[in-house]
């Protein structure tokens, strides 16, 4: 039957002049690669759950996007990652918050949904669950990119976020 996939790589103050043609091409290539992964699952008759996980894993591995590798930093200079997934057929869902060592947080969210009675696990407990269930572990430094570190330094310098009520919380 028919299948369909839609993806996003984050919203924000992306002004037309900000992106060089090369950067724009890189973002579009990243989106295309993610869609190719999800479409491959759907074309082969695979489940929408497998498709969204495969798609998000590609985006998590691409340092251009704020998830997995290339995630933004906390005020303390750490990467704390959040993810969630939901199955429209069963209404089962899984989520993790504040995880620091799982290479692909979306797969950990799926493990919470399928291998625990819970919906949401957080921080060191989620990290421990990830290890116990054999998710691929990485050193926290894996998520770091120079570009995101510079964004944190800029944020620390002028705390624009504190002045902007919409981003009052960081």
């Amino acid at each position: 039957g028919p299948w369909s996939l839609a993806i996003h790589g984050g919203a924000g103050v992306i002004k037309r002049g900000d992106l060089t043609p090369e950067k724009e091409a890189a973002y579009r290539a990243g989106l295309d690669a993610a869609m190719a992964a999800g479409a491959k699952v759907l074309k082969a008759g695979g489940s929408s759950l497998d498709a969204v996980e495969a798609t998000v894993r590609v985006l998590e591995d691409n340092p251009l996007f704020n998830a997995g590798k290339g995630a933004v930093f906390t005020a303390e200079g750490k990467n704390e990652l959040d993810a969630s997934i939901m199955d429209g057929k069963t209404l089962k869902a899984g989520a993790v918050a504040g995880v620091t060592r799982t290479k692909n947080p979306i797969s950990l969210a799926r493990a919470v949904m399928e291998q625990s009675p819970h919906v949401l696990l957080a921080r060191d407990g989620a990290d421990q669950f990830s290890k116990e269930k054999g998710l691929e572990q990485v050193d926290p430094s894996y998520f770091r990119t120079e570009e995101r570190w510079k964004q944190l330094e800029t944020w620390r310098k002028n705390h624009q976020a504190a002045l902007d009520p919409t981003h009052l919380f960081g």
């Binding site: 028919p2 295309d32 005020a75």
Partner: protein, 133 residues
């Protein structure tokens, strides 16, 4: 934040979202991404949603669930439901965007920000399309 929503050939929908959060976040702050009903929601025959934006506002407006409820309870189309949900977030000071598909796989993109990295591909439109601004 990144996200995906899909309809498979058996007619089932699913949604997924993943993020690093916001630069400079403190106190273990989390936003809408790991909260079912706010950043992610899916229900067969109705819709699947993944959101991205200032989480506190998406949480308080239960954005992802709101899109689905507008379709299920008010009979709105998926684009209208997405646009009205983002409007409700903007009304309380939030900004961002969301992607959604309905139970038939029709995709919608809604935002009140300057841009959102986004794309769509389907059996009806096998050539993937991307957009930013």
């Amino acid at each position: 934040t990144v996200g995906a929503v899909a309809l498979d050939q058996a007619g089932h929908v699913a949604a997924a979202t993943s993020t690093g959060g916001m630069t400079g976040k403190r106190w273990g702050r989390i936003g809408d991404s790991p909260i079912i009903g706010a950043g992610t929601y899916a229900r067969d025959g109705v819709c699947a949603v993944s959101a991205t934006g200032s989480g506190e506002y998406f949480i308080r407006e239960t954005a992802a669930r709101q899109v689905c409820d507008r379709i299920a309870w008010k009979g709105q189309g998926v684009q209208q439901a997405g646009d009205d949900t983002i409007k409700s977030i903007g009304a309380i000071g939030g900004d961002g965007g969301l992607i959604a598909i309905d139970g038939q796989g029709r995709a919608a993109f809604s935002m009140n920000d300057l841009g959102m990295y986004r794309g769509a591909v389907s059996s009806a439109h096998p050539v993937a399309r991307t957009a930013i601004f």
